[in-house]
């Protein structure tokens, strides 16, 4: 075994796995509480945290150094933002016609 080649990432993999399972349970449990308008916000914050954990540790975005890769990830998020922002801007201003 070439255990000297790389420090083992297995510990962090299992840590992320447990965090994701806890997040799933949390979002399931919180959904049963009445938080008024904050239910959706809490659910989306937990989902985004879980998605970030998967992207950073399982997809190895953490520590990625290639500039092209950063460009693709950032422009993807940017275009998703444009899609959502312009659609919602249209929806939110329909009342003024």
């Amino acid at each position: 075994m070439s255990d000297h080649a790389k420090s083992s990432p297995v510990k962090s993999y299992f840590g992320v796995w447990i965090a994701l399972l806890v997040g799933t349970y949390l979002t399931y449990a919180v959904a049963k509480l009445d938080l008024g308008p904050y239910n959706a916000a809490v659910a989306l914050i937990i989902a985004t945290t879980k998605a970030l954990l998967v992207a950073l540790f399982f997809m190895h975005l953490k520590g990625a150094s290639e500039r092209l890769l950063k460009l693709v990830v950032i422009s993807t998020l940017f275009f998703l933002f444009i899609l959502m922002a312009l659609s919602m801007a249209d929806y939110a201003t329909r009342w003024y016609t």
Binding site: M1, S2, D3, A5, K6, S8, P9, V10, Y13, F14, V16, W17, L20, L21, T24, Y25, T27, Y28, A31, K32, L33, D34, L35, N39, A40, A43, L44, I46, A47, K50, A51, V54, A55, F58, M59, E66, L68, L69, V72, V73, S75, T76, L77, F79, L80, L83, M84, S87, M88, Y91
Partner: protein, 238 residues
């Protein structure tokens, strides 16, 4: 081995390189980065593909707020939560398979690949049970759709509008159906990866297909991480 030693070694054995290195790439690292980069660009297009569906969900949810809550409540959230956990476990086994290739452990690599596929099949099985329930309850949009006298959460005196609830179920079936289609494609990719791993094609130096297939699998997991609270968990509180 230090970098200068490695450089000296490659200059001596210039004609010797991994058989996996294609001639239009300078180094194995460049080849590996190019493959991963291609998958990331594809995932960028996938974000926009699912993004359109998420935006239409968002707008209809705001429009038909209570109807969507009533329709979401009719879905078995425990099945959805179980499926979330199953997918998370499959993502763990994907990174363990890559780790197995990196430390040249054939057992860990092949065992993790088989587990990943079993988790994927379990996900589709649970999804099938969920779809079967919806068919039996006549919650599939179409001629036999029925959603009569279902109270709106928080407003027990009002019933959900079946036409609006039908839009929720249309989005539910399109979004989870497209996600399930991605799972089926992923299972196909992992069948191929398993065959390649079985033949001993992956070494600590070369296992790029595992990494690229893994990126795809994790992305499908991320889509589900958002689908779960948006489709299964809205207006669950009493």
């Amino acid at each position: 081995m230090s970098d200068s030693q490695a450089a000296a070694q490659t200059s001596v054995h210039e004609d010797l390189h991994s058989p996996a290195l294609l001639h239009h790439f300078a180094t194995e690292e460049q080849q590996r980065n190019a493959s991963n980069f291609g998958m990331w660009i594809f995932l960028g297009t996938e974000v926009m593909f699912f993004g359109g569906l998420f935006v239409s969900y968002l707008i209809y949810r705001l429009w038909y707020f209570g109807d969507f809550g009533a329709a979401s409540k009719s879905i078995d959230a425990t099945l959805g939560a179980t499926n979330t956990a199953v997918l998370i476990c499959s993502s763990l086994t994907v990174v363990l398979a890559i780790w197995g290739a990196q430390i040249a452990s054939r057992k860990l690599m092949i065992g993790s690949l088989i587990l990943t596929m079993l988790f994927g099949l379990a996900f589709l099985g649970i999804k099938g049970k969920e779809y079967k329930d919806k068919f039996e309850e006549h919650h599939v949009p179409g001629a036999s759709f029925s959603f009569e006298n279902v109270p709106i959460p928080g407003h027990p005196d009002q019933y959900a509008n079946p036409r609006h609830a039908q839009i929720f179920f249309a989005l539910y079936f399109i979004m989870t159906g497209l996600h399930a289609l991605h799972m089926i494609v992923g299972l196909g990719i992992f069948t191929w990866l398993l065959v390649m791993a079985w033949k001993g094609r992956f070494t600590p130096e070369y296992h790029t297909p595992l990494e690229v297939g893994g990126l795809y699998w994790h992305f499908v997991d991320i889509v589900w991480i958002y689908l779960f609270p948006l489709l299964y968990l809205i207006d669950r509180h009493p």
